[in-house]
């Protein structure tokens, strides 16, 4: 693949360019695109695990970890900086991912998903109930941080955070692709296709999955920090199971077979929500649900899959 401009790589380039340019003309899109990119980063992590055939129904726990890392610093220490927040979010979610990962990588399929869900619900109930530290369901406000000491007005800040999200999203996208193309990434995929054979080759499937899991937790944490900064709040709802479901939904919507599916899915999800919420405030969830049903029944490989199916059909079916 390297060196050749595939249609998907072209699509990704166009997408990132649009995300960079469009908000310059329509200011209200800056936040929309920043959210798309931030969520796309989280979904990249889900897609990473999908490569190994595993679905985490609790990934919102890393998303919340990242969000609360920023929120707690603002509440208890004060005076945050974007770079500091992102570092905190990345480190805390990586450590948390390593701890949870050590347990969950022993399981596969439904048991993997179940255990992830259980861990995430424990975190959610702690955040919801430790009122003294977390303000309970109201969440913690995240004050607008500086960037390397520079303070911004709200108007400028939305562009600052957009371009930071864009930078991180592009880096994460390229990084994940490089990882999936590396030997370690190929081993990760082998967990889905034939785990026994992978072990006979002398590698530990658990260790391979653990590396993937920790990376995916870190991506979840970074995305969470970004969303907390963009929306200026962190609430326990960030870690509720429906949020985890939403991330898996976006991954399937975009297509789990390719890293770009994360951003394609996030873009479609947020844009549908953005316009549906404006037009039919009471029914946006209904519309998204129907979109999901249609995608699953008629295009189970997601938006990216539409393109791949097309190509496969030309090669004479699968």
């Amino acid at each position: 693949m390297a060196g050749r401009l595939t249609p998907i790589a072209l699509g990704a380039t166009v997408f990132f360019l649009v995300a960079a340019a469009a908000p310059l003309f329509v200011p209200s899109w800056a936040t929309l695109f920043a959210l798309i990119l931030a969520k796309g980063i989280v979904v990249l992590g889900i897609i990473l695990l999908l490569q190994a055939g595993q679905v985490s129904f609790g990934h919102a726990m890393f998303f919340t970890t990242g969000a609360y890392a920023a929120a707690f610093w603002g509440k208890f220490v004060g005076g945050g900086d974007i770079v500091l927040y992102l570092a905190l979010g990345a480190i805390s979610s990586t450590v948390f991912g390593l701890i949870v990962g050590l347990f969950v990588v022993r399981y596969r399929e439904i048991f993997f998903g179940m255990l992830n869900l259980a861990f995430s619900m424990v975190l959610w109930s702690l955040l919801e109930k430790m009122f003294h530290y977390t303000n309970g369901a109201d969440g913690i406000r995240v004050a607008r941080p500086t960037l390397l000491g520079w303070a911004f007005t709200p108007e400028t800040f939305q562009y600052v955070i957009l371009y930071i999200s864009l930078l991180i999203a592009a880096a994460a996208f390229i990084g994940v692709q490089r990882y999936l193309d590396s030997p370690l990434g190929h081993m990760l995929r082998a967990i889905k296709s034939n785990e026994t054979r992978l072990e006979y080759l002398g590698t530990s499937a658990r260790r391979v999955l653990l590396v993937g899991y920790v990376i995916s937790a870190m991506l979840g944490g970074i995305g969470g920090t970004l969303v907390a900064i963009i929306q200026q709040i962190a609430t326990p709802e960030f870690g509720y199971w429906t949020k985890s479901g939403e991330f898996v939904f976006i991954a399937i919507l975009g297509g789990g077979a390719h890293a770009f599916g994360a951003f394609a899915g996030a873009a479609m999800f947020e844009i549908v929500r953005y316009f549906a919420a404006a037009q039919l405030a009471n029914a946006w969830q209904l519309i998204l649900g129907v979109v999901l049903i249609v995608i699953i029944l008629y295009a189970p490989n997601g938006l990216i899959g539409l393109r791949q199916r097309d190509r496969r059909a030309k090669q004479g079916g699968r």
Binding site: F103, I110, M114, L117, A118, S125, K129, V248, I252, P300
Partner: protein, 299 residues
């Protein structure tokens, strides 16, 4: 904690466990037969409750006693209509496909139903506690409690447990369901219609969820989000017991119900935490649940 408080906690725990059991056993049954975790299960619970409210508010002026059949009717209507639609049009096209897709399509059904529920019944809390008021209060070791909660609910739960056991172990239809669960291909080969079995099982499971909701109606107020809360809770119970374990679900529901009730009186903040913490601990030691049979690692 004195003995009165302890009695109160036990009674709370039992009545709560009865409701949770009804919902969880439906989820467990569906998983046992179809191998699908039905994320829309909580919505079926909520729909059962809301429709029961509509029905009982409609019949209560005629005679408050009619609210009992109204509760039952609501749960059957929801189970057959919603359950039937979900199985027939969402799950059936996906059998034999990726497990993720089956899980996710029930998640889509959850999103749609959650939204429909807000559109149909609004977001204001709804109360309808006629059935609770009809039955007298009884005194248990000096503690006054409604007999609806300490007698009727546990009786319904117990009857459901016995009924399900009898149905699955002693009747032909039950044997057919067990056969499909055990080995779908072999069952199909001897002429069993697996699709019909899936359909019927899903409707039974969905009706149990709706029944749990309908029976919960007199004891709580209905609020949006009750379905989302119930699905994770019932999932925690079913997974802790071991998915597909019917008797195990009853024991686990009682365990979690009692643990939760005692925690409420000792350390109320941690009420929500109990079921999930228990689930994590059990799954770490026994991933197949407390009562689940361990099978070889599937690769």
């Amino acid at each position: 904690m004195n003995s009165t408080l302890a009695t109160l906690a036990v009674l709370d725990g039992i009545s709560y466990a009865a409701l949770v059991f009804l919902v969880s056993v439906g989820l467990s049954l569906i998983f046992g037969v179809l191998r699908v975790v039905n994320v829309a299960h909580g919505s079926l619970y909520a729909f059962g409750a809301y429709l029961a409210a509509t029905f009982s508010i409609a019949v209560a002026p005629t005679s408050p006693w009619l609210t009992y059949p109204a509760l039952l009717a609501a749960s059957i209507v929801i189970g057959v209509v919603c359950g039937g639609l979900i199985e027939r049009f969402l799950l059936r096209p996906l059998y034999g496909r990726d497990d993720v897709l089956q899980l996710l399509i029930t998640f889509a059904a959850f999103m749609v139903m959650d939204n429909l529920q807000r559109l149909i019944w609004g977001v204001q809390p709804i109360f309808a506690n006629e059935p609770l008021k009809l039955l007298p209060n009884i005194s248990v070791f000096g503690v006054n409690y409604t007999s609806y909660q300490v007698l009727l609910l546990p009786c319904v739960a117990l009857l459901t447990l016995i009924g399900l056991r009898y149905f699955l172990r002693r009747t032909l239809s039950g044997a057919v369901i067990m056969a499909v669960t055990e080995d779908r291909e072999a069952a199909t080969a001897i002429g069993i219609d697996a699709k019909r079995v899936y359909f019927v099982t899903f409707i039974i499971g969905a009706s149990l969820a709706a029944l749990g909701g309908a029976l919960a109606l007199p004891t709580t107020s209905l609020v949006p989000g009750m379905g989302a809360d119930m699905i994770v809770l019932s999932f925690a119970v079913a997974a802790t017991a071991g998915l597909g374990q019917i008797e195990g679900t009853a024991v686990t529901a009682l365990m979690i119900g009692l643990a939760r009730a005692f925690i409420i009186y000792i350390e109320p903040e941690f009420e929500v935490l109990v079921p999930y913490l228990l689930m994590v601990l059990v799954l770490l030691v026994r991933p197949f649940g407390l009562f689940g049979a361990t099978s070889l690692r599937r690769i």
